[in-house]
Subunit: 307 residues, 2 copies
């Protein structure tokens, strides 16, 4: 039973009100697989980088038990690069530079050893690439979770809708839920998304937490109030990694398990935003993760008994 | 043991994306006392209206067990009037018209029968008037809760800070917390407010719930995801009324009781926004309130046991 994570492995350059970075390691699949690695090993990565991608970064992932045989390294080519600047509220950002590089011709190859995939995390990527990964798995995984972003709604909506129709869980943020459905109310937006294919929808609201919808059920996971959101880069991917990592570990894909997954995902994301890039996610201890989860438990705990 | 509520009793005219009203009954003290009346009677009102204020509206409050002997009716004068228009996100609004009328000379009189006040709700009003109410009580109440708004930060900051220093619980929204402290982070803002006098701070975040701060403790109460927020008018006052109403009923002012109070307040506010003005708050049943509170319990319930 393995977890397969696909998505970008990339260079980021980030500017926030707290500072800026040169090129650092980023990418949806990097954050998601690193985050998932705190729950269970047996994580396989499918992605692509250029010759310029540092071996140490690949070793970092391997050290967390991530299998990188599915990470293609393109000779003579350059790694995907995204530079952006966040505003004070950390919800809005400007893209300063995007260089697709190896991503523009990415054809995902699934190593045979990855075919026992039971949990599939389709990290943010071109929907057609997400789809080819699903098609190249000989057996449909037990659970397919997909993350995406507004960009694909603008330039590849048909592909995106087709991909969405094939997954079990979709994770998007509040603005994307509104854009995808044309509904301002998140409850109405969720109802529409749940007719598009997914049985579960997670709407990420950043500092305001996350909502998990399933049928007529709703679960509201808070975000931990933090002194500062230092850098939101990768928070959504880290959330997704914690979410699917917990499910992968428990093997349970019930609504109750997903609620727990949302809490674990939120806890991992709360670490992610405390420092630039992957810095905080590289070397957490299990007890740090447990302590953080306990903070989430305490944060929402109240005692009302209705007669 | 009684609850004293002061604040405006007013006419509102409201425009939202869902429609508009002519003059309807509103005011901070109206919403707060009506909301509190679902928890325990023995509620006393101090406010002022003009001759134009309808007797039926006063009867409506009396029917909910609210004592209106402290409601001054000014012959030949007109009731405070506020017209506003909400934008789609319901968090931003434009004031279209404000007529202070009787409010400009309001001198609150506390009937002798109100002097047994143990719980005091200082609804949003000029800070100097809030202060005179506190000063005119012969015995300091067991718990003083104060609501205010950004307007007073702009035109009466010194009075406001003095008033804030004298209360136990302050309730403000997220934008107001930022404005009052100059801190964008709500955690940092809360820490500053807790040095200004109050032992408890509630930051209301509308559709994103509410945060209760006390010392180093934080409690995050979600808001119920609703199909539509029809009209946010009075939601904050209704929240405050449910909050203090629960404490008034239980007599308990511990942090645990306040957490319950925040949930009850949130439940009452979730009714308030479902219809225009007071419509939904006028005639709830106890079982409707209980069912709504149960929805809040279900909304955040998850089962993680850390070993």
């Amino acid at each position: 039973m393995s977890l397969l994570v696909i998505g970008t492995v990339a260079f980021d350059a980030i500017e926030t009100p707290f500072g800026k970075t040169d090129k650092i390691i980023g990418g949806a699949a990097t954050y998601a697989s690193m985050s998932a690695s705190y729950f269970k090993k047996n994580i396989n990565l499918v992605s692509v980088v250029g010759e310029d991608f540092p071996e140490e970064a690949i070793a970092m992932m391997q050290n967390r038990g991530i299998d990188t045989r599915g990470l293609q390294i393109k000779k003579g080519e350059k790694t995907f690069f995204w530079a952006r600047k966040y505003h004070e509220d950390m919800n809005s950002r400007d893209t300063l530079d995007t260089q697709l590089n190896v991503l523009s011709t990415f054809d995902p190859i699934i190593p045979d050893e990855y075919q026992d995939c039971e949990f599939l995390m389709l990290g943010n990527l071109m929907p057609s690439i997400q789809m080819s990964v699903l098609q190249r798995l000989k057996k449909r995984p037990k659970l397919v979770v997909m993350d995406t972003m507004n960009f694909w709604m603008e330039i590849a909506l048909n592909d995106l809708l087709k991909m969405i129709s094939m997954v079990d869980v979709l994770t998007i943020n509040d603005a994307e839920a509104r854009q995808l459905t044309g509904e301002y109310s998140l409850v109405k937006a969720a109802r529409k998304v749940l007719t598009m294919g997914p049985k579960y929808l997670i709407i990420k609201k950043g500092e305001h937490g996350a909502l998990l919808f399933h049928g007529n059920n709703v679960f509201y996971a808070p975000a931990l109030p933090l002194e500062d959101v230092f850098d939101p880069t990768g928070a959504g991917d880290t959330f997704a990694g914690g979410f699917i990592g917990h499910l992968h570990n428990s093997g349970d894909i019930s609504f109750e398990a997903m609620k727990r997954g949302v809490i674990y995902g939120s806890a991992m994301a709360s670490f992610c935003v405390e420092k630039f890039g992957l810095e905080r996610i590289v070397s957490l201890t299990d007890s740090e993760v447990d302590e953080r989860v306990q903070q989430f438990i305490d944060l929402v705990q109240f005692d009302i008994t209705l007669v």
